[in-house]
């Protein structure tokens, strides 16, 4: 066994919620829908619950098995390995995307003179230390970090109430249906569908049967927080909302209670980074553990730092500017993830049911 830690179902719930909030706190999902973004997030949440049902059904069918082992069982050793390599690339790439998003955010708004590599290296080092300590430690930190972030989200919303114009939310659904579907689809793939990486984590759940309720609860928790943030941003910023790339940050900047409580954004940014830490750690952990299982290693620890360096390199390499990053996130990413988030999991489930695999897996594990 590569990983000796066990996580409880409540830890899984908080970890999923924190993971889903991750980079969507800085890059709000559903922006294409304009002032109906919050509805797009709700629709995305609804459809993602269906997709999460596929993931959890797979995980419950193969208790104690990670995605790598599930692929091997379902597709055989050769095709399974190929699919696993595809997934490992996806987790690795997603981790470096999130890393880049956060570093771009910091360089663009808060530390304009600092080279981006500083943020990349320090965030990666923090996550590497978390990954070396195992999933149990990451899961335990998630409870505290998520609690603080939830408080911050509600507090900033309350402090902004006097600046809110709820008429900004009207007229509801005044946009072409196609555009709304596109926005809610984008919200499904980013952030909710990314929970596919939890197929690497659910294996370490103490009681696998609780996977379904805890994953669903985690997604709903994150969805509520995202909708609150989205309604806050739209009602505060109004028509200018789509102009701002980082609209949550922009909204929080406007907090001004009697000239005393101002410039609170820096506290909130700390929370954003905490959620980003959770997201990168889980993805990083998934990549490293998956690679170790693929190569049949007895320990995943030696791979942590080399893969982290590769992640930093890809982060720098992949985009030349923030604009390219945003273009990729909105125009390419929703289609790029189709095989990873919907295609292969659904296909795996169908193949598993047709071949009657869970029984065989039980015999094998004895």
């Amino acid at each position: 066994m590569l990983e000796k830690g066990k996580i409880s179902s409540s830890q899984l719930t908080f970890l999923i919620a924190g993971f889903t909030l991750g980079s969507s706190l800085i890059l709000s999902p559903g922006l294409v829908a304009g002032h109906d973004a919050w509805l797009a997030v709700l629709a995305g949440l609804g459809s993602s619950l269906l997709i999460a049902f596929i993931y959890t059904t797979l995980a419950v069918k193969f208790p104690g098995k990670t995605l790598v082992q599930i692929n091997d069982i379902i597709f055989g050793p050769y095709l399974g390995k190929l699919i696993t390599i595809g997934y490992l690339w996806y987790f690795f790439h997603l981790a470096s995307l999130v890393l880049r998003n956060f570093s771009d955010f910091f360089v663009g708004l808060i530390y304009p003179e600092t080279p981006i590599i500083v943020f990349l290296i320090f965030i990666t080092l923090t996550c590497a230390s978390a990954v070396r300590n195992g999933i149990e430690v990451i899961a335990r930190t998630s409870i505290i970090l998520l609690f603080v972030t939830a408080c911050a989200t509600f507090l900033t919303t309350v402090l902004l109430v006097k600046d809110m114009e709820f008429t900004n939310l009207l007229p509801v659904l005044d946009l072409p249906l196609k555009q709304f579907i596109k926005a809610s689809y984008a919200a499904t793939t980013f952030p909710f569908g990314e929970t596919v990486v939890f197929l690497m984590v659910i294996a370490f759940l103490e009681n696998t049967k609780q996977a379904k309720p805890s994953v669903t609860l985690g997604l709903i928790l994150a969805g509520i927080l995202l909708v609150v943030a989205s309604v806050r941003n739209i009602s505060v910023l109004g028509v200018t909302e789509p102009i701002h790339t980082y609209d949550s940050y922009q909204a929080v900047r406007l907090i001004n209670i009697g000239e005393i409580l101002t410039r609170l954004e820096i506290i909130v940014v700390g929370n954003f980074l905490a959620m980003g830490f959770l997201k990168i750690s889980v993805l990083y952990y998934g990549t490293v553990l998956g690679t170790a299982q693929l190569l049949n290693l007895r320990s995943y620890l030696p791979l942590v730092l080399p893969i982290g360096i590769l992640m930093v390199i890809l982060s720098i390499l992949q985009f030349e500017s923030t604009i390219e990053n945003i273009h990729f996130a909105f125009d390419i990413y929703p289609y790029y993830v189709i095989p990873f988030q919907f295609g292969i999991p659904l296909f795996s489930l169908i193949v598993a049911v047709v071949r009657g695999l869970p029984k065989k897996a039980k015999e094998g594990s004895k």
Binding site: N296, L305, I309, L310, I313, Q318, F319, I332
Partner: protein
């Protein structure tokens, strides 16, 4: 800059390798060294300013090709 890079990689190797050798984890050591060497080569090329092919550009071309097939 290059000296700093080499120092960092040697530091990582010294941090991980002795434990692996002690426990006779040869397979793990090979995998570790392979990944580390790959990372070192890529990092060195980047520091030297050599253009490395960008995999994300490839993904973009692929996705756009499939989208054009759909419509």
């Amino acid at each position: 800059m290059i000296i700093l890079l080499i120092a960092a990689f040697i530091g990582i190797a010294l941090f991980e390798a002795p434990g692996l050798v002690q426990r006779k984890y040869w397979r793990e050591l090979t995998a570790f060294l392979l990944f580390l060497v790959a990372a070192f080569i890529l990092a060195l090329l980047q520091v030297l300013g050599v253009k490395i092919p960008n995999p994300v550009k490839g993904i973009e071309v692929l996705v756009k090709y499939f989208l054009s097939l759909m419509s």
